[in-house]
């Protein structure tokens, strides 16, 4: 017998490789991006403090989604892309 596949569809993801510039995690500006869930900020804050033992941290900034349930807004993504060489995202509950 022949059946239709209930999962069938055409993938919309392009999968294009993005050319990433190398990041110097010892010196470059880094964004710490929280998903706004409880303790995400505290986790990132703790990491930032620990990084302070081996690098300057005044160019490591905190950013956050304004809602844990919504996608990151475009202006947040643009801010990260424009101002930071690296980003560390915390996504968990």
């Amino acid at each position: 017998m022949r059946i239709y596949n209930p999962t069938f569809g055409v993938s919309a993801a392009a999968g294009a490789k993005v050319a990433l510039k190398p990041v110097n995690w010892k010196t470059d500006a880094i964004a710490l991006v929280s998903n706004s869930k409880p303790n995400a900020r505290e986790l990132l804050d703790g990491i930032r403090s620990k990084l302070g033992a081996s690098r300057q941290v005044d160019n490591i900034k905190f950013l956050a989604k304004n809602s844990a349930s919504q996608p990151a807004p475009k202006d947040l993504l643009e801010e990260v892309a424009a101002n930071y060489r690296g980003a560390l995202l915390a996504i968990a509950d």
Partner: protein
């Protein structure tokens, strides 16, 4: 990206859908609900993971 072990399957499924390969630092679950002492272990693990991932 820092994710807990419990949420790794979600990250990987979403990455597969987008055909991207995330650079992941996996720590124990959960993050939310931990007190400062409990969170310290996650901070240690995440910092160690970050250090290893960025010095390769």
């Amino acid at each position: 990206m820092i994710a807990t072990e419990t949420f790794k399957p979600l990250v990987m499924a979403q990455a597969k859908a987008r055909k991207v390969e995330p650079r992941l630092i996996i720590v124990k679950h959960p993050i939310g609900g931990l007190n400062a002492d409990e969170l310290r272990e996650r901070i240690e693990a995440a910092t160690k993971g970050l250090s290893e991932a960025t010095t390769k």
